[in-house]
């Protein structure tokens, strides 16, 4: 009990918690400080960015300023500048005294007097206005009357005012004025001021003009900003406010704070990636895009994606975050952002990667399996139109029947009124059917047009019995890239038995037909023709380094191994000639992609002979199974399964649909719907669990997401391997990333309804028909011809390049262009030739365009050169006989030997011709363009053989630059204009006279 007696302190009442409290309070305080610091600094990293930007940019500008000032000085020292400057000084001096006088009068006389008068006047007017209001609200006529009298009294009141003198001498005068006088004084001064200001402006007009001229001189010559402008920017930096910089677009609910860190993006000075130490401050690499898409109207994230609102960190702002659905595009895919608003286009100027992706989608045949809006639109429209036609015909039939019933009812009706009603109904139906007839007619035309446009991506397999070597087929089906590396036919992962079954089906279901036996041609001539007629615009030949030609169509290096000679001759001679199919009318069969080069039989045989020699000595094992009907039956299933009919015309599968998924909106498909299969976890860990990662890997190896899966062969992924290279994969990925469902309203999307829509439409046809294989249509576009050694190395052959079409719309008349595109021979009889440039070895092929396509293409060229629609021919002044004589002289003068190069249509003359036939100029060309062409051909078609500087300026007219013929010396008109008119009024008789002169 001893310890119990010992008193222990009570822990609750005696223990002190001061230390606990103190520590806790300090911690609390610390957490509070932390919270404030977090709020002010850590959550606002852009503050640090802005402080650095201000410092670095100021320094950058300060260093730049003297450089620009020096450049400006150099320009100021130039004689032109000095001259204008001197003139400006003189002009200013001349009016200086008058200006000073006006300024003094206005500043010290007129304006002070006007102000004083107005002040006094306003006091009176306010009083009157108040009285008026009282009158308006008063209900007592008596009161109103007395108040009106009050107003009269105010008006009559005489006020004493002290007014400065109007001449600006500084003196004042005291006047006693009434209300109206004050008003007149005020208005008078106002008028005086206006007059003086106008006078001042007039006096300075000459000086102002000269100053504008001087400034223009400076801004034209100075690269970059002027020193004063830079001073302005430096001053801006001094007043720079640190804070969030944002763009807010109400209508699309977009808030972009990107410029809180990317401060240099829109600066007028070009800032390189390292100019301000950190790349984040560089200016936009393509400022021209910002002038088209003003950031104040479009924002940043609308094109680039990313989280425009986020300012906490780079990762969050760029949206590279698991939960942000629209991560910023990586630089290599940045053009994906264009597609959402430019979805109607296949060519978007400036979007080269995106355009390449679209072109690949078109020209690798992706659309054979995967629908994408716009690609193969003709087939879809054809289906719709055919359906509509069936509906209309059904309605038509039903109407006809009802009409007959009504007529019968009318004939047997009990009374006249009822009969009338029946007859009226019958009449109405008859009229409806008449209208339907018209509609059906139009749709039938459209159907025919569309049927002419529909093309399968690959060749028709109905022809293979006539066309191909039997034993070669299974080898090809098995691995086309082994036979022909880079072929557009992709590699399917087929079992050997599937290869045999597919080959058997194709072989047994191909069409039988008769081929004309063709004698062999001359292989050497064939090679020459093959290399120069235009085949290489699309086809290539040779492998590895010796490969030349385009990649639009097949590489023909081994074509002799696979193809039947007789068929080849027929195909080269006229690709549109098909073996008749008893089950499908010719009009409804898809057309071949290959156009006709209008070759003669002999030329066709020569080329075919050359091509049939393109072979290795590989032997193909016999394939007896290809005649086994059971194999063929199994082959049908395999063909369906792998979707062969998406690209090829195959008997029995004409109506087969696409087997792939629609990719029109693939970029906005939720990530969870992309099947990463067993790669999901790996993708998450390695950071490619994204649309980009999926597309890239899938395109590189379409079977990649099958890896490790336990699956039956037919359950495996079907997409074949195209063996794309890294650039192609990136382009297609960019395209697919951009294929999103846009959230932007119509005004943001580029869906023009004016002539720009014609340009959009035209590019589709151009891409589909590979016009750019031969022609340059956009600067920078390299045609296949331009890569062939013969054309690059030999200057004579360089003249043989197909013409550039940069300004085709301005050059030619639309009617002529449509006719030319329909029949480039420009002749019904002599069809085997070039219509315009007969001297060219290469031929403009006949593409069998539909009327609709002809119209679209013509409109494309016209719209691109802003030609007015519809086309109105320019009026042309008729030549007088004297003018015609002068024209003739000029035409054949030694200094302008037009006929040395230009064709005339006379065989003996045209042997050496290297320029178009000007006899057809009047129907082909536009006079205005021709005139400009003669003056400055090089600026219209860089590199043209047409000589420049044929004319020189003489006052306001152009005169011939060479020796002027005697008759022309006294002519005081424009020589170029005269020549144009001469050319446009040329006829056969005149041509004979010309020849006589030569």
């Amino acid at each position: 009990m001893a310890e119990e007696t010992q008193v222990q302190p009570d822990p609750i009442t005696t223990k002190s918690y001061s230390v606990h409290l103190l520590v806790s309070m300090l911690l609390l305080l610390a957490s509070l400080v932390w919270a404030i610091y977090d709020e002010v600094e850590i959550m606002r990293p852009y503050k640090d960015y802005q402080a650095r930007f201000r410092a670095y940019y100021s320094r950058f500008l300060t260093e730049l300023q003297p450089q620009q000032a020096a450049k400006e000085d150099a320009i100021r020292q130039s004689p032109e500048y000095q001259q204008v400057s001197g003139e400006l000084g003189t002009a200013e001096e001349a009016v200086r005294a008058r200006i000073a006088e006006i300024d003094r009068e206005v500043g010290q006389g007129v304006v002070p007097r006007m102000t004083s008068a107005r002040n006094a006047f306003q006091i009176l007017r306010s009083e009157i206005d108040a009285q008026r209001y009282l009158i308006e609200v008063s209900h007592d006529e008596g009161d109103k009357e007395s108040m009106r009298e009050d107003i009269e009294e105010i008006r009559a009141r005489v006020v004493e005012v002290e007014l400065p003198l109007a001449d600006g001498s500084g003196g004042t005068e005291e006047l006693e004025l009434q209300y109206e006088q004050l008003e007149a004084e005020f208005l008078g001064m106002q008028e005086r001021r206006t007059k003086l200001q106008a006078e001042r402006l007039e006096a300075l007009a000459e000086a102002n003009r000269l100053r504008a001229e001087r400034d223009a001189l400076m801004s034209d010559r100075l690269v970059g900003l002027g020193a004063t402008q830079i001073d302005g920017l430096i001053a801006n930096m001094r007043n720079f406010d640190i804070g969030i910089k944002q763009i807010h677009l109400l209508d699309i609910d977009l808030v972009d704070r990107c410029e809180s860190c990317h401060l240099g993006i829109r600066e007028p000075v070009e800032i390189g990636p390292t100019d301000l130490i950190y790349p984040v401050f560089q200016s936009h690499p393509r400022p021209e895009l910002l002038t088209i898409h003003d950031p104040e109207a479009f924002g940043c994230s609308s094109c680039h994606n990313g989280n425009g609102r986020a300012t906490r960190s780079v990762t969050k702002g760029h949206g590279r975050h698991k939960f942000w659905l629209w991560p910023m595009y990586f630089p290599e895919n940045v053009e994906a952002g264009c597609h959402q608003c430019h979805a109607n286009e296949i060519v978007t100027p400036g979007g080269e990667t995106l355009n390449m992706g679209r072109e690949l989608y078109m020209n690798k045949g992706c659309w054979g399996c995967h629908r994408f809006e716009g690609y193969d639109a003709e087939a879809e429209e054809l289906t719709a139109v055919s359906q509509e036609l069936r509906n209309l015909s059904a309605t038509h039939g039903a109407n006809a029947k009802e009409m007959r019933v009504n007529l019968d009812l009318g004939d047997t009706a009990a009374d006249g009124a009822a009969a009338q009603r029946y007859y009226a109904r019958a009449e109405e139906l008859r009229l409806t059917n008449t209208r339907l007839d018209a509609e059906i007619h139009n749709l039938t035309m459209e159907q025919a047009n569309l049927a002419q446009e529909v093309k399968k991506f690959g060749p028709s397999l109905k022809e293979i019995k006539l066309k191909d070597v039997k034993e070669w087929i299974p080898e090809w089906v098995k691995n086309p890239h082994e036979f022909r590396p880079g072929s557009k036919m992709p590699v399917f992962r087929l079992l050997d038995e599937e290869v045999q079954q597919i080959s058997a089906y194709l072989w047994q279901n191909a069409l039988d037909g008769e081929l004309v036996r063709q004698p062999r041609g001359n292989s050497e001539r064939g090679q020459e023709l093959f290399e120069t007629r235009g085949c290489l615009g699309c086809h290539s030949i040779g492998e590895g380094d010796s490969q030349m030609g385009g990649d639009f169509a097949a590489n023909l290096s081994r074509v002799g191994e696979k193809m039947n000679y007789d068929y080849m001759v027929r195909w080269i001679h006229d690709p549109s000639e098909v073996t008749p199919d008893p089950n499908v009318p010719d009009a409804m069969r898809p057309r071949p992609v290959m156009p006709s080069l209008r070759l003669t039989d002999r030329e066709s045989r020569d080329i075919a002979t050359y091509l049939s020699e393109q072979r290795t000595d590989q032997e193909y094992p016999p394939a007896p199974y290809m005649d086994d009907p059971e194999m063929a039956a199994a082959g049908l299933d395999a063909i369906r399964h792998y979707g062969c009919a998406g690209c090829h015309e195959i008997s029995g599968l004409e109506e087969e649909g696409r087997i792939g998924t629609d990719l029109t909106l693939e970029g906005s498909k939720p990530l969870e719907r992309l099947d990463f299969a067993l790669k999901t976890h790996e993708a998450e860990l390695e950071g490619w669990y994204s649309h980009k990662g999926f597309f890239e890997r899938k395109l590189e190896n379409p079977a990649v997401f099958d890896e490790g899966k336990e699956r039956e062969h037919l359950e495996r992924l079907r997409m074949p391997n195209f063996n794309l290279n890294a650039e192609e994969i990136n382009a297609l990925t960019t395209f697919l990333l951009g294929a999103v469902e846009t959230t932007f309203p119509e005004q943001y999307r580029f869906e023009p309804e004016d002539e720009r829509a014609d340009v959009q439409e035209g590019w589709w046809i151009i891409t589909r028909h590979n016009c750019t294989g031969c022609h340059q249509i956009r600067p920078g576009n390299v045609s296949s011809f331009m890569t062939i050694p013969r054309y690059t190395d030999d200057p004579d052959w360089a003249e043989q390049l197909p013409p550039q079409l940069y300004t085709e719309g301005a050059r030619v008349q639309p009617d002529w262009l449509a006719g030319f595109l329909a029949n480039p021979a420009l002749s019904e009889r002599d069809v085997n030739r070039n219509g315009v440039r007969e001297y060219l070895h290469a031929r403009m092929p006949t593409f069998y365009f539909s009327d609709r396509q002809l119209a679209k293409l013509t409109k494309f060229f016209m719209a691109r050169d802003s030609q007015p629609v519809p086309h109105m021919p320019e009026a042309m002044e008729a030549l007088t006989n004297a003018e015609r004589a002068i024209g003739r002289q000029l035409f054949v003068s030694d200094a302008a030997p037009c006929l040395n190069c230009h064709m005339t249509g006379i065989p003996s003359q045209d042997v050496d011709a290297t320029a178009p036939n000007f006899l057809i100029a009047s129907e082909r060309l536009k006079p205005n363009w021709t005139y400009r062409w003669m003056l400055e051909p090089a600026s219209i078609a860089p590199g043209t053989a047409m000589p420049s500087e044929l004319f020189e300026r003489d006052g306001d007219r152009w005169v011939f630059a060479g020796q002027i013929p005697a008759q022309a010396r006294n002519y005081d008109g424009d020589h170029a204009d005269l020549l144009t008119r001469y050319m446009f009024q040329m006829d056969a008789a005149e041509l004979r006279r010309l020849q006589a002169l030569q």
């Binding site: 010992q6 008193v7 222990q8 009570d10 918690y17 409290l21 806790s24 919270a35 698991k322």
Partner: protein, 311 residues
């Protein structure tokens, strides 16, 4: 062992409270029981020492000589509460600075996230949906939980243990709480948070949450196992099984209630209505682990299938 996966789950801002709960709940349970045992010892001492019981009123701490008889709320309690409030504030401040609100991607009505989880405090309810009909798990059970919590003061016939920690005097209440709240409710939240992955499948900690995981599991109704196929009999059979469970569970509960002299005394203070309500709630509470075991171990989907509801 996929440490990355484990860390992803554990470090999710949403899951931080659950991870905290894993440690905090056992700690405070242990701490409360420790105090309860100390008090129980004091009660024993006071019972044996009537003099001391007369002079000393404090019921906390093993009593020592010289301690004040009564401790006032101010300042002794309030200063501790103040200190606690400061510490909690610090924790909340630091928490809110370091961990952001767990916002995820914008909702997409055409795409349900997988796994699709309720807020952590509802995960127990969501887990119950695995074992019961939505009507039972989503409506009846939550209602009964709320009603049960409301009626506790009205069916609690034990007058002892107010205002101090004690184990001896409230053994039954404490075990009911530990069973119902800690074992059932909290563990179901933990399961829902840490164990249930894509497809609401069972993933042991450290397993990769694989969206493509396939498991072979066939859950069958009890009557199918027994071989009853037509309706009135299915309903009657299920009713009998459930009724049987109730009888057995009720008997077991009764045995527990009447296990000691003390608890029999408390039972004597209860009216029949109070007793019936308590039994009803206990039986239903017991039904949950029984059904969980039936589902997880024996793959039984429903025991009682009727056209109106399933149990």
């Amino acid at each position: 062992m996929d440490w990355h996966q484990l860390w992803t789950i554990v470090s999710l801002p949403d899951n931080i409270p659950i991870v905290g709960m894993l440690f905090i709940i056992p700690f405070f349970t242990w701490y409360a029981l420790r105090q309860a045992r100390a008090n129980d010892r004091l009660v024993e001492r006071l019972e044996n020492d009537p003099d001391m019981a007369k002079t000393h009123h404090r019921k906390v701490q093993p009593f020592k000589k010289g301690w004040v008889r009564e401790v006032a709320v101010w300042p002794y309690l309030l200063r501790m509460e103040f200190l606690a409030a400061i510490i909690v504030t610090i924790i909340l401040m630091v928490w809110s600075i370091t961990l952001d609100a767990p916002l995820e991607e914008p909702a997409n009505p055409s795409l349900t996230m997988n796994p699709s989880k309720a807020p952590w405090y509802f995960l127990g309810l969501q887990e119950m949906l695995v074992y019961f009909d939505p009507w039972i798990a989503g409506v009846v059970m939550p209602t009964l939980i709320i009603i049960g919590l409301i009626v506790i003061p009205y069916i609690d016939a034990n007058p002892l243990g107010n205002g101090y920690y004690t184990y001896k005097q409230r053994r039954f209440a404490i075990w009911a709480f530990i069973f119902g709240f800690i074992i059932l409710w909290c563990s179901m939240i933990v399961i829902g948070t840490l164990i249930r992955g894509p497809g609401w499948m069972w993933f042991w900690p450290g397993m990769t949450w694989d969206h493509n995981r396939l498991i072979f599991e066939i859950n069958r109704d009890l009557h199918e196992i027994v071989g009853i196929t037509s309706q009135p009999w299915i309903g009657i059979f299920g009713g009998l099984v459930v009724g049987g469970f109730m009888v057995v569970a009720g008997y077991a509960c009764h045995r527990i209630i009447t296990a000691t002299e003390f608890s029999r005394k408390i039972l004597g203070r209860m009216s029949l209505l109070q007793y019936a309500i308590m039994q009803g709630l206990l039986i239903i509470m017991l039904a949950l682990p029984v059904k969980m075991a039936a589902r997880l171990l024996f793959r039984i989907k429903y025991v009682w299938v009727t056209p109106w509801f399933n149990v």
